[in-house]
């Protein structure tokens, strides 16, 4: 797998006078491969949103470099807009940014700005809606008549319709009910699989991250505290708790079982894995081995 995005020694200092000047993110280095799902977790104010806004050139690093397909995105500052159709960013609460008269027009807005028109544009919108399960009956509706969860899905579809190679989502499931959360997660998985796209997700939901993410970045006070495979990161429960995070609930249940003397492995992070593990212990006669 080749690196799609590479971040080297990125620092962003918010300007101000000598007392208010501070590093929002400092000396961050990581890379993400094609087709990978990368999760970013961290307490509020840890620099997660500031970090991802550098990945499509919305913010310019104070120090360090951002490379997209091995090329510095700021090499030609006048062409920075091109990067935004290749690295798509879905902001927090994207449904507040819906503004067109119809759902179709809202989803078509991004690809239209990229220069698509006529049949090409129509096919592009229809294709993404088909993939995401947005029915054509919705096309002529006003986005403002949709439920909160539906609005969120339309707003995300609008960014996906530009078919970015890297899709970044800043807390895409915050404020949704469980059904809405499941719908959005399914959308993200579909997009990742259909186009072998790289996905970067900021989330506070450890349970969902355990299921979705191949790798995790843990941010703490503007610095990169951990970067590794999801399993490896969740093994460090104590460190996560120290910085205000936690491991999935099911992992905590398994830890409590271990304390009671049942010999369960430490690397159980999803309900499915826990059930498999406990069933095999039960078949073994309930022995503690």
């Amino acid at each position: 797998m080749s690196k799609v995005l590479e971040i080297r020694n990125l620092t962003h200092t918010y300007s101000g006078n000598s007392t208010t000047k501070r590093d929002a993110v400092s000396n961050i280095t990581f890379s993400v491969d094609g087709g990978e799902i990368l999760g970013i977790i961290g307490h509020t104010g840890s620099g997660k949103s500031t970090l991802v806004q550098h990945l499509n050139g919305l913010l310019k690093p104070t120090k360090g470099t951002v490379l997209f397909e091995e090329k510095d995105i700021w090499l030609e500052p006048k062409k920075i807009r091109h990067i935004r159709s290749k690295v798509g960013l879905v902001f927090q609460y994207p449904e507040y940014q819906l503004f067109e008269e119809t759902v179709y027009m809202d989803i078509a807005y991004g690809p239209k700005n990229m220069g698509l028109s006529g049949d090409e544009l129509r096919v592009r919108v229809e294709e993404i809606c088909k993939l995401l399960g947005i029915d054509e009956d919705y096309f002529e509706k006003s986005p403002f008549d949709l439920s909160g969860g539906e609005k969120r899905r339309v707003a995300i579809a609008g960014v996906m319709a530009m078919r970015p190679k890297v899709l970044i989502l800043d807390e895409p499931i915050a404020g949704l009910d469980p059904k809405g959360r499941a719908d959005v997660i399914k959308m993200i998985e579909s997009y990742n699989k259909a186009y072998n796209a790289t996905v970067i997700i900021i989330s506070h939901n450890m349970e969902d991250m355990a299921v979705l993410a191949d790798k995790l970045i843990v941010m703490n006070k503007g610095a990169l505290a951990m970067f590794g495979k999801t399993d490896e990161v969740f093994l460090k429960a104590d460190l996560l708790r120290q910085i205000g995070l936690n491991v999935p609930i099911v992992t905590r249940v398994m830890a409590a079982l271990k304390k009671k003397g049942i010999d369960v492995p430490d690397n159980i992070f999803t309900v499915d894995d826990a059930v498999k593990c406990l069933c095999s212990i039960k078949k073994g006669g309930g022995k503690d081995a």
Partner: protein
């Protein structure tokens, strides 16, 4: 029941381009004084409409809402009602107005026309109750999300309310912030006797509540203690809700042939159940 809030045959509808939308109709509910109630329901199930009826932000189209016996339709008592039932919303940044924490908390009591020394005392007490006293001179924008939300709660506490209604107060918080809010609410409920009504999408926040109400299509479909509500996994999933991950695990194990109870929620209890089920096998 000694109820702090009572809804009697309440209907709430709003006009949308001359089309009447009925959110709830002929609705009856009592919230017991001193209780801790969690309201669950998918987006659009009528939870927030209900919350705003509790302190007169929404007025019923038919029927009546009583707060401490006072009807919310009685405009002369609007201030009395808002003082008795305080509301906290999702986004802490939209609720804090002053540039210093203690000034923000003082805003409500100042509007009640209290004496400065009484205001001072109330602000200090409120900040101590939410464990934010040491941040009293900080600027709100320097606080974490959970801390800001606790300041918003202190602003309500300083009004000495009978009841606090919170509409998804943890939706934008990290896990630590969420835990801080939930434990603050339980403390206020136990130690200060404040009635708490918490609307949330996080099932595990309902674990220690006295009562869980599940809303769907403007109606109450379940109203019971948490254990019983969450043991009905199928019913909750059918209305777009989930169960805490502990319940999910126990339920899956049961489907895989474990002789196990599914009506526990806490991590410790879940581990106990699994431990016992594994040891029963041995015998």
């Amino acid at each position: 029941m000694d109820s702090i809030i009572e809804l009697k045959n309440v209907t709430f509808e709003y006009d949308d381009n001359d089309i009447k939308n009925t959110v709830i109709s002929n609705f009856n509910l009592e919230i017991e004084r001193g209780s801790f109630t969690v309201i669950l329901g998918h987006n659009g199930s009528g939870k927030s409409t209900l919350a705003k009826l509790f302190n007169g932000l929404n007025k019923p189209s038919a029927g009546e809402v009583f707060v401490d016996g006072i009807s919310t339709l009685d405009e002369d008592n609007e201030i009395e009602i808002k003082r008795r039932v305080g509301m906290v919303f999702q986004n802490p940044d939209n609720q804090l107005i002053a540039s210093v924490v203690e000034e923000d908390v003082a805003f409500g009591p100042e509007n009640l026309g209290l004496r400065p020394d009484v205001i001072r005392q109330r602000v200090d007490e409120a900040l101590k109750a939410v464990e934010m006293y040491e941040f009293r001179t900080a600027a709100p924008h320097h606080l974490s999300g959970g801390q800001k939300q606790r300041v918003a709660i202190a602003g309500i506490i300083a009004m000495k309310p009978e009841c606090i209604v919170l509409d998804e107060p943890t939706a934008m918080l990290d896990p630590k912030g969420r835990a801080e809010i939930v434990s603050t609410l339980h403390k206020l409920n136990k130690e200060n006797g404040i009635t708490v009504v918490l609307i949330t999408h996080f099932m595990e926040e309902a674990e220690k509540a006295d009562r869980v109400i599940v809303m769907n299509d403007g109606k109450i479909i379940t109203d019971d203690i948490p254990k019983i509500v969450f043991s009905n996994v199928k019913k909750l999933k059918s209305v777009g809700l989930d169960v805490p991950q502990t319940t999910e695990l126990l339920y899956s194990l049961k489907n895989n042939g474990f002789d196990i109870k599914t009506d526990v929620i806490s991590i410790e209890e879940a581990a106990d159940e699994i431990y016992n089920a594994l040891h029963l096998e041995e015998k």
